[in-house]
Amino acid sequence: MDTSHHFFLLLMFLHYTIGTNTSCVKILPDSNSSILVELGKNFTATCHLLERSAYTSDDIEWLLDDYSSIAKQHYHKINESSVSVTVNVSRNMNGWLRCKASRKSLSFTPSCFYGVSLRAGYPPLKPENLTCMAVQEGSGISPYLKCSWDPGTRDPLLDTTYTLYVEIGVEPTYSNSCKQRLAESCTVNLSTFPVFMDVNVCVEVKNELGSVRSDKLKWDALTLVKPNPPLDVQPLAEVNFSTSLMVTWKPPIEKTTMPLSYLIRYCKVDSDVWIEVPEISTQAHKESFRLQSLKPYTEYVVQMRCIKEHNESYWSEWSANATVRTAEAEPASAPDLWRIIQPTSDGRNVTLLWKPPVKANGVILKYELYISQDNGKLERLDEVADNRMHLMQLPPGKEANIEITATNSIGVSPKATLFIPRSDRERPGVGSVSWSVRDEELLVEWTGASNAHVSEFLLEWVNVQQRDLQPHWQRVPRNANSTTLTGFEKLKRYNISVYPIYKHRLYTQAGRPVTKAVYIQQESPEKGPTVTVTKSKKNSAELTWEEIPLDSRRGFIINYTIFYWAGNTDRWQSVTVGDHVRSHVLTDLESETDYVVHIMASTVAGSKNGSDFNFKTMKYGDGEVEVIVVVVCLSFLFLTVFIIMICLRKKEVIKQLLWPHVPDPSDSSIAHWSPDFPVKADMPKEDVSVVEVDVFDGKSLCEEDKTVLPLKKDKYLSEEHSSGIGGSSCMSSPRHSVSDSDESDSGQTTASTVQYSSVVASGYKGQTPNHPPPVFARSESTQPLLDCEEHPDLLNDSGGLSSRNSYFRRGRELEPGALAQDCGEPNGGSLTFCPVQEEEASPIVEDPPASGVSYMSQKSGYRPQ
């Protein structure tokens, strides 16, 4: 089953293939190769049904290369077996044209096909504008003649051959073929260029659709020659002929072969404006020519070209540049003289400047400068050519006339003059000056100078960022009120000054200048200003910054913008201030807050931020601290006063509290008791004894008082004023409170005050004295001790007593309040005690036996005896 099935399919395939390849139609015209058809023309083909065909003419269909059917209206039925088709050839008809015979209805009859290949194109067009040229080769003419033509713009779409034919006399025709669509030129080798001969030239264009010839043109062969440029073109300058140049050359080709005429052109170096000498001046056989009306000492470039005389050939190319400078002549114009006046403390510094003459006509060898002050004698100064500056002093009250001439090898220039008036006699300047920039050129305009005496204007500009301040200047006519200046550096600051120039007799005089600062181009500053905070307060801060250096400014600063923000936030604030501001106070700041600030400087072209600066506002405002201090002090003062007043008011109470009433022995009943036996004999004197252990010099107080006390009055005062260590002066041990007193003082004081105590001095609060501590042994007696018991003879000594009294009195007089305060101190220290009150001492003075009894405080106060 499978085998038979496959066999059946193979038969079907063979039937189909044989059926499709077996054609029952044929197309005429037919060709083994492609049939060339001309685009735009009608093409007719006929399809014939062969005899064995089972189709009729109605079954014929024409198809193009892309199997698209040709419309039936183009069909023409010739007979039952032939149908022709006529089509207008277009570009899309390249390829196959097919004839197909098939039935429209369902049929098993295979279709018939036949096709012919079409190739569409155009026949060649006639070449136009035929020209030929042969170039010079060495000293002769190249035998290769190159002819060019206009082939037209229509592409023939077919291979096309252009054949160039050249006929010379009776000789065989020379020809060459160039196979190229739309070829525009072709070259033919003539073996030898036919000098003096006529040549006939034509071009034939041929392709498969036809051929066409150009017009045959006849030329004298030499008219087709393009000679080389003239040889050895040399312009020569001649001394004493400063306005002419002799130009010599050699003909590039033999004169007998090709007589030439020449064209000379020349121009100044660095100029592109050529001046041509009419060729009639340089006709055939000439080999030199003199150029005239030139400028002295000027470099000229000369070029030449040639052509067959009567312009009967092609022009040669221009010769190479030949450069020469005309000879020198005497300067035809004066130097350009100018001045800079700088006032000084004792006069004027005048700097004379000059430029070489515009028409120097040679190398300037020197300048001769003539100066006279106050119409005095002209002083002549010779300046070398390289020096174009002269410094002079001119007092403000003097005027100067200046003249200058330039000299070259031929002669002297006209003189330039300048008059410098007295300082107070300067002529007026222009009204106002404005400027603008256009295409990197500076347009300067000025007004208010229509003065009849103004002869011209002078514009001076100087780069203020240069150290030497070399000025430039330019003069403009008097009828101008604007001019354009060039040569400015970008981002540099210039000062432009406009001077009216007056004619003063034979001299020129400049009026007062009007100066403007300009930038030819601005950009943002190179760096921003550095800000510092000079005063930082609670809610404000004063910022200061320096002006940006001129080299970094790069434009006019139009304003400064201050940016500041609290360091812990990103919320910044800004303040814009004018360009002239150098300090600013920021207000409404938060107290005790870190702030960051920077300043942005702006020009019209951009801005630049300065570096950040950190500062912190104060916690307290102005005066707050002072108010607090004053309040605290006042409060303390009031409190103290209050306490003192209380102490004074309650003195008796305090006294009662601190010093309990001690009974007066003199008022005791025993004092008034009169025994029968002598009392004194029974007095237990031995009970009142003083054991004095004095480590010091052992002098008694009274002896010391006699000599030292008056002298040490100040020292005592010092002792009493001193607060002492560990207590007030009255309560502390004098030995410890007067640390800087001499030993005698200490000894005296101790001896005079601690007479009834046995004291072991161990230093205050652990401080160890340098010397062995004094040891006082207190009597075990309960009787009151007499003052100065060991020197009873001094009790009646008023001097010693008075000094002693004064001592105690003074202590009481000084600080009654302090006394009360000191007495109020519960912890006065083991060695502190209150001085004996005057009230208590007085009875002692009045009653020596009784007065010798007194009570001294002990560590824990006074114990009633």
């Binding site: 002769g140 030898t192 036919p194 000098v195 003096f196 001969m197």
Partner: protein, 160 residues
Amino acid sequence: MAELLRTYKTSQGDSTDLICDMPMDNVPESTISGQTISERILSVYTRLKEFLPHMKTVMEQQKDFNPPTNPVAEGLDMMITHVRHTALRVNCLLQILQPNIPIPEPAERPTGIPPAQNIFQQKAYGCIVLSRLQELLSKAVQEQKSLRGEMCRKRTKNAF
């Protein structure tokens, strides 16, 4: 032409100047004869035609001496063409001047130089041919200038 002669002399070695002045019978003279303008032009034409076979002979000899592309042979080839062209132009001029008088063509006869020339004789012969041709062409240029001057004078007279 002068350059060709110079090239020739340079390529032949020393003492060429001497041999160029040697007398040789079979080389055409450089003289231009005749009384009238037509006769003198015809004389130029005849001389040019006489020189052509001699130049061809010299070129053949030079091709034997040196490679065919040597400068002398190339110059000679170019010069032959120029002489032929010039002769043709002169012929045209004669036809213009005397359209009814046939121009006698000199016969293309052999040069008359014996074939058995040694190298020295060949060099001398070539130099003599070129020297005399240069003289002829120079004279022809002078003749042309004098003719032009004469024609201009006649034209100026007629104008007045």
